[in-house]
């Protein structure tokens, strides 16, 4: 069975990380600390796979003239420019690579991030409908907290900011804690299934 080797690697590395946490004594400290460094190196080295795939997808799009193929060169040119300037000028501040990043990539990221201001409004408009009593509770607590965030809220009634603080401190903490404890149980079970090879679909099947 060809999967024996990968599954045993998962078992060994998983156990090393667990033992590293509970046993400070030598072999496990060295193994655990190094393993954390090593797996980050392996995961980072994989980035070239993605870049090659990105190039393949867009070259294929141009070759077969699929829909919107005219935009594919833009991605390829953007990729090449950043790779070339990065390799030639390095990442030092003020160098072309850093200039391109600061003046183009950062603003585009900030703009996509700021789209959330629009989407929060449209999501609130559509989702907060008092269709049943539970949705009404969701709507009221959101409404109260929003009101408590802005000066108008405290002008209407000075207890509103306190209501906001209470809603965030008690029900919100309780809800978040229930989700976190439940999710942690899910993590423990999923980790055990992964480490002991009960769940192996991620390795794919026969080759």
């Amino acid at each position: 069975m060809r999967l024996v080797i990968p599954l045993s690697i998962t078992l060994i590395t998983g156990l090393i990380m667990i033992l590293n946490y509970f046993v400070p004594h030598e072999p496990f400290r060295f193994l655990g600390d190094n393993l954390q460094e090593w797996y980050m190196i392996v995961a980072s080295a994989a980035i070239f796979l993605g870049t090659i795939n990105l190039v393949q997808v867009h070259v294929r799009k141009i070759r077969l003239k699929l829909t919107n193929w005219r935009y594919s060169p833009v991605t390829l040119v953007g990729l090449v420019i950043m790779l070339v300037t990065g390799l030639i000028y390095g990442v030092v501040e003020g160098a072309p690579f850093d200039f391109l990043f600061q003046s183009m990539v950062v603003p585009m990221g900030a703009t996509m991030f700021s789209l959330l201001a629009f989407f929060v409004a449209s999501a609130a408009f559509r989702a907060f409908r008092a269709s049943n009593w539970r949705a009404t509770l969701l709507l009221t607590s959101a409404f109260l907290v929003m009101l408590g965030q802005v000066p108008i809220g405290s002008m209407l009634w000075d207890k509103i900011p306190l209501a906001k603080v209470w809603l965030m401190a008690i029900p919100n903490t309780a809800g978040q804690r229930a989700v976190m404890i439940g999710a942690a149980m899910g993590v423990v079970a999923t980790s055990l299934r992964m480490i002991f090879g009960i769940e192996r679909s991620y390795l794919g099947g026969s080759d």
């Binding site: 946490y21 509970f22 046993v23 400070p24 004594h25 030598e26 400290r29 060295f30 797996y39 995961a43 994989a46 980035i47 070239f48 796979l49 993605g50 795939n53 990105l54 393949q56 997808v57 294929r60 829909t67 919107n68 990539v105 585009m108 990221g109 996509m112 991030f113 789209l115 959330l116 989407f119 929060v120 449209s122 999501a123 609130a124 559509r126 989702a127 907060f128 809800g175 978040q176 989700v179 976190m180 404890i181 439940g182 999710a183 149980m185 899910g186 993590v187 423990v188 079970a189 999923t190 980790s191 055990l192 299934r193 009960i198 769940e199 679909s201 991620y202 390795l203 794919g204 099947g205």
Partner: protein
Amino acid sequence: MGRATLPLVILLMACAAAAQPPGTGGREDAAVRLSRVGQLVAEDVPNDAGGVIALGWVLDGEGALPDSLRVVRRTADGNETVLAMLSGGSTSFDDTTASDGTEYSYVIVSLGTGADPVFSGEVTASSSAQWLHSGRIGMLVILAILSFFIFWFIETSRRGRQFYIREIAGLASVEDAVGRATEMGKPVLYIPGIMDMDDIQTIASMVILGRVALKTAEYGSPLLVPTCRSVVMSVAQEVVRESYMQAGRPDTFRREDIQYLTDDQFGYAAGVDGIMVREKPAAIFLLGTFYAESLILAETGRGIGAIQIAGTAMPSQIPFFVAACDYTLIGEELYAASAYLSKEPKLLGSLKGQDAAKLFFIVLIVIGVLAATVGGFWAPMRGVADFLRSLVAVS
């Protein structure tokens, strides 16, 4: 004084100083009197791999602040080494060159220009490595109990015991979401989150992708999987290809539909939004680890009228999925999805184990709260509450 005699003199002075109880001042009548290092403590650093002894002390306020402090270490056979020269104000030092099991004695010498060196008292210690981290024993016990529950129920499920699993709305609608996409001749879009294969939610998402791929293989609708990480891309290609083979439709598997976009969080969001508005998928799955980009994707998906099934264990993003998606798997429901969709006995068994673990914590909390409440009036119960808290406390 010759070079050779210098250590001898220090040795004599060390004995002289050691003989004298600290703090009685003494015969140093030099112009400036340096403050002496007092309450010197040396102990093995707990819960470590050995080889480290921690020194701590306080400068008694009588003399002037020394310019520097010399840390001197002596072994049983008398050879002496100067470990470090510290600045006058420091009050602690870790000797990381100790070898386990050997007895060392330490002296700290206060030094100042134009003043006699002032010696601290002598303390001895030896370093050792611990096999079990003392602060984490409580956690180890609880984790062992819960893991036992999980393995126990997996075992009983293997011996044929059938387990019930409650209805999870989001997962019950996977079938008809893919069916709807096929009727409309539109693709299915699967978004596995933005983290890498070391993230447990992404691992769970890959397992669910395998089940969803089985459905799209049967129904024959295209399956698009844009990924934010290279390793996730290769795993997704592997998992989907395997599902198409199991469904007996290896010919319809299209590797180019499972593509890498970029590692950048918002570059990925921009790219996926573009795919949504152009490919117009009829069903969208958002399962895995999401951060702020969750609502950018979910709100765009709703804009094109697709059925959206989302799931994440990120507490901060669940409210946005609840607001924008048709179905949302909350926290643990994401991890239960693979068991729910496959109905595999060993996976249902592990779910039963998870429930037992939750029950364990509920009981622990209820007893703890009762003890703490009653503890207000009846002291021993507060001890019980403190004990339970210490059980779950981890250092």
